[in-house]
C-alpha cells in the first residue's frame, strides 16, 4: 500500500460511513460517551489533585510540628499541646541539628485587634522569623521582623492578608499602630495571601508578632519560655527521617525522660499532606478506570458494526479482489473505516468531556483541569481502540475467498 492509495481509501471509508449515517452515529456515540467520560473524570480527578497540591505548596514542604504533650492534674488530662514542657530553647536546640533549615517556636492565642473604629478577632502567633522560612511565606508589603526584634521583644506585627483587609480596608497598614489586647503594636509588614489550608481554614486570617513580645505582653504565661509548638523544616524529603529521630532524641535528653513516656508529639505534616495527595490521585485513577469501561463498550460497538459491514459488503470485497486488491488492501480499507469511526467519535468525545468538565466547574464550583495530556491520551486510546477492535473484522474481510465472496448474495 502506498500513499496514493490512502487518499482514495479514506474517501471510500468516508462514503461507507456516510452510507449508514444513523448506524455510524450510534456506533460513534459509544466512543463519544467513553472518551467523554474519561476526559471528564480525568479533569475532575486532576482538578482535585491540583487543588491538594496547591495547598501543600502553600503549607510549605518537609515540615514537622512538635507539640507539647498533655498535662495531668489530679487525674484530669488536658489535650496535647497544653503541657508547659516545650520551650523556646528546645526550638533553638533543634535548630542546630543537622538537616534542619528552620525551627520556629510558636505561642498563640485569640485576641481582639483594634485600629481606629475597626476591630477584629483573630489568631495571634508569637514566633521567630524561622516560621515564615518554614512555611515559605512571603511578605507582600513592608518587611518581616528579625531576631533582634524577638530578642528585644519589640511591639511590631505582621498582618495576614485577611486581617489587614478587615482592619485597614484597601489602605496600606505598614507604619500604622494597632492595638492587640489593648497593647499598641506597629505594623511593619503584610503577608502574601496563602488561601485555604488543607482543613479549609483561612490561613490569611492571622497576625504574627515576635515570640518574646507575645510571651511578655499577650500570654503572660507563668512558665517562662513555654511554647505551644515548634514548627521544624528539614532541608529535603530525604533528610526527614534523620531530622525526626534526631529531634526526638534531643528532646528526650533535654527533658531528661530516661525511658519515661515522651512529653511531646512529633507529627509529620508533609506525610499527612502527601497522603491527601495520594487519595486524590487514587480517586482520579479510579474514576478514569470506571470511565474506561464505557470506552471498552464503545470499542465492542465498533467491532460489532464492522463485522456487520464486512458481511454486508462481502460481494464488494469479492469484486475488489477480482480486480486486483491484495489482502492487505482489503484489510487496510476496513481498518481505516474502523479508525475513522473511533477517531471521529473520540474527537467529539473530547469536546463533550471538556465541555462537561467546565460545566461541572461552573455548576458545583469544583476545580477541574482539562490537561493536554488527557486529551492526547483520549485520542491515542481512541486510535488504539479503532485498530484493536477493527482488526478482527478487517482480517476476516481480507481472508475471504474471492470466489465465495463474488457469489455472495
Amino acid at each position: 500500500m502506498n500513499q496514493r492509495m490512502i487518499v482514495p481509501m479514506l474517501g471510500e471509508a468516508w462514503h461507507a460511513i456516510g452510507a449508514n449515517r444513523m448506524r455510524a452515529f450510534l456506533t460513534m456515540l459509544g466512543m463519544m460517551i467513553g472518551v467523554g467520560a474519561v476526559v471528564l473524570m480525568l479533569a475532575v480527578g486532576q482538578g482535585a489533585s491540583a487543588a491538594v497540591k496547591r495547598q501543600i505548596e502553600a503549607m510549605g514542604s518537609h515540615l514537622f510540628v512538635v507539640l507539647a504533650g498533655s498535662q495531668q492534674a489530679g487525674g484530669a488530662r488536658t489535650g496535647g499541646g497544653n503541657a508547659t514542657t516545650l520551650t523556646s530553647d528546645d526550638a533553638y536546640a533543634i535548630r542546630e541539628l543537622p538537616g534542619v533549615t528552620a525551627a520556629a517556636p510558636v505561642v498563640m492565642g485569640s485576641y481582639q485587634l483594634i485600629f481606629e473604629s475597626n476591630n477584629w478577632n483573630t489568631q495571634v502567633f508569637g514566633t521567630t522569623p524561622d516560621y515564615l522560612t518554614a512555611r515559605d511565606w512571603k511578605i507582600a508589603d513592608g518587611a518581616g521582623f528579625d531576631d533582634s526584634d524577638v530578642q528585644a521583644a519589640r511591639r511590631v506585627a505582621i498582618l495576614g492578608a485577611t486581617t489587614a483587609k478587615n482592619l485597614f480596608g484597601d489602605a496600606s497598614p505598614v507604619g500604622q499602630v494597632l492595638r492587640i489586647k489593648n497593647a499598641p503594636f506597629t505594623v511593619i509588614g503584610v503577608l502574601a495571601p496563602k488561601g485555604q489550608s488543607l482543613d479549609g481554614r483561612d490561613q490569611d486570617d492571622t497576625v504574627m508578632v515576635p515570640l518574646n513580645t507575645a510571651m511578655r505582653t499577650l500570654s503572660g504565661s507563668r512558665f517562662r519560655n513555654a511554647v505551644r509548638m515548634i514548627m521544624v523544616q528539614a532541608e529535603s524529603d530525604g533528610a526527614m527521617a534523620i531530622v525526626e529521630s534526631g529531634m526526638k532524641d534531643l528532646l528526650r535528653e533535654r527533658h531528661r525522660l530516661n525511658g519515661v513516656d515522651d512529653d511531646f508529639f512529633v507529627s509529620n505534616l508533609t506525610a499527612v499532606a502527601n497522603s491527601a495527595a495520594e487519595t486524590a490521585k487514587t480517586m482520579s485513577l479510579l474514576l478514569g478506570a470506571i470511565a474506561s469501561v464505557s470506552l471498552l463498550v464503545g470499542g465492542i460497538g465498533i467491532m460489532n458494526i464492522m463485522l456487520v459491514s464486512v458481511t454486508e459488503r462481502t460481494r464488494e470485497i469479492g469484486i475488489r479482489m477480482a480486480i486486483g486488491a491484495r489482502q492487505k488492501d482489503v484489510m487496510a480499507q476496513f481498518m481505516l473505516e474502523a479508525l475513522m469511526l473511533s477517531l471521529t467519535g473520540g474527537l467529539i468525545g473530547v469536546a463533550l468531556g471538556a465541555g462537561g468538565a467546565y460545566a461541572v466547574q461552573a455548576i458545583w464550583q469544583t476545580a477541574v483541569e482539562v490537561t493536554t495530556q488527557s486529551i492526547v491520551l483520549a485520542f491515542v486510546v481512541s486510535a488504539v481502540i479503532g485498530l484493536f477492535f477493527g482488526f478482527y473484522p478487517a482480517w476476516k474481510a481480507a481472508r475471504l475467498d474471492p470466489i465465495e465472496a463474488l457469489r455472495y448474495q
Binding site: R4, P8, G324
Partner: protein, 253 residues
C-alpha cells in the same frame, strides 16, 4: 504493443502469436465433507495473443471452475497453468492479485459495479490498486468511459443507467489497466438481445485491437461472435473448433 498498433492499422490479428494462456493436463478436485469431488479431468488449452474463444457447456461441465482458475481466483489441483509466461501456481497471493490487476480484465454476468461510487470511480478502481496517481486515474477512467460511449455519465451512479450501460461500464473498468486478456463470464446473461448484441460488438472491436478474450456463454448466437468455440462436458474439453460463420464483420457504422 506493436501487434496492437498493427491491428489498428487494419491488419488482421495474429492468432499464431505468443500464448497468453497455456494450460496442460489441468485437473481440479474439490474436497467436500462427502469426499473429493473431481470437477476437471485434465484440460489442455492454449489461447494465443489476439484470440477470442467462447466456452460453452451445460451446467456442471466445469466451465465456471475453469474460468475461475484462468482468472487466478482459484487454485488448480494438478497440471500446469501459465499466464503470460508465468507459472501461476508458483506465485503468492499478492502476485496473483497483481496479475488480476494488470494482466486480466474481468467482466461478470451481474456487472458487479460498486453502487455507492460514481461510474468514473468504478472504472478507476483497478488503478487505485495499481498505485496510479489521482490525475492519471481520472484521465484514464474518462478515456475508457468515452471508449464505451458513456463519457457523459461519468458522475452518475450505477442505479441511474440501464443494464446494458452498466455492462459497458464494467467493460471500461476491465480495460482501464490495459490488460492483455479479458475473461467474461456470461456477460450477456442479464441483458436483452439488442443490448447483448451491442455488448458483443464492443468485445469484437476490442478483440480487433488485439486483446485476447475468453467468454463463457450458454447461447450459441453469442458464442458465434467469437473466433473459436470450445465445448466442455463432464469436466473434459470435448470440442475446440474455429467459428465459421461469425456474427461480426468488422467495425459497424
Amino acid at each position: 504493443m506493436s501487434a496492437r498498433e498493427a491491428d489498428q492499422a487494419g491488419r488482421p490479428p495474429q492468432p499464431d502469436g505468443k500464448a497468453v494462456i497455456a494450460v496442460s493436463r489441468l485437473t481440479k478436485t474439490y474436497s467436500t465433507q462427502a469426499g473429493p469431488v473431481p470437477v476437471l479431468h485434465g484440460i489442455d488449452f492454449t489461447l494465443r495473443e489476439g484470440e477470442f474463444a467462447a466456452v460453452m457447456g451445460p451446467s456442471g461441465s466445469g466451465k465456471s471452475t475453469f474460468m475461475n482458475i484462468l482468472g487466478c481466483l482459484d487454485h488448480l489441483t494438478g497440471g500446469r497453468y501459465e499466464l503470460a509466461g508465468q507459472d501461476v501456481e508458483a506465485l503468492d497471493n499478492d502476485a496473483l492479485a497483481s496479475l488480476r490487476n494488470r494482466v486480466i480484465g474481468f467482466v461478470f454476468q451481474g456487472f458487479n459495479l460498486l453502487q455507492r461510487a460514481t461510474l468514473e470511480d468504478n472504472v478507476a478502481l483497478p488503478l487505485v490498486y495499481a498505485g496510479v496517481d489521482r490525475a492519471t486515474r481520472r484521465q484514464r477512467a474518462r478515456d475508457m468511459l468515452a471508449k464505451v460511449g458513456l463519457a457523459k455519465y461519468a458522475q452518475s451512479r450505477p442505479n441511474q443507467i440501464s443494464g446494458g450501460q452498466q455492462q459497458r461500464v464494467a467493460i471500461a473498468r476491465a480495460l482501464v489497466n490495459e490488460p492483455r486478456l479479458i475473461l467474461a463470464d456470461e456477460p450477456t446473461g442479464n441483458l436483452d438481445s439488442k443490448t447483448s448484441d451491442e455488448v458483443m460488438d464492443l468485445f469484437c472491436a476490442l478483440n480487433d485491437e488485439g486483446i485476447s478474450i475468453v467468454l463463457v456463454t450458454h447461447e450459441l448466437d453469442i458464442a458465434q461472435y467469437a473466433r473459436r468455440l470450445v465445448r466442455f462436458h463432464d469436466g473434459l474439453l470435448v470440442e475446440d473448433t474455429p467459428v465459421l460463420n461469425r456474427s461480426w464483420h468488422g467495425v459497424k457504422p
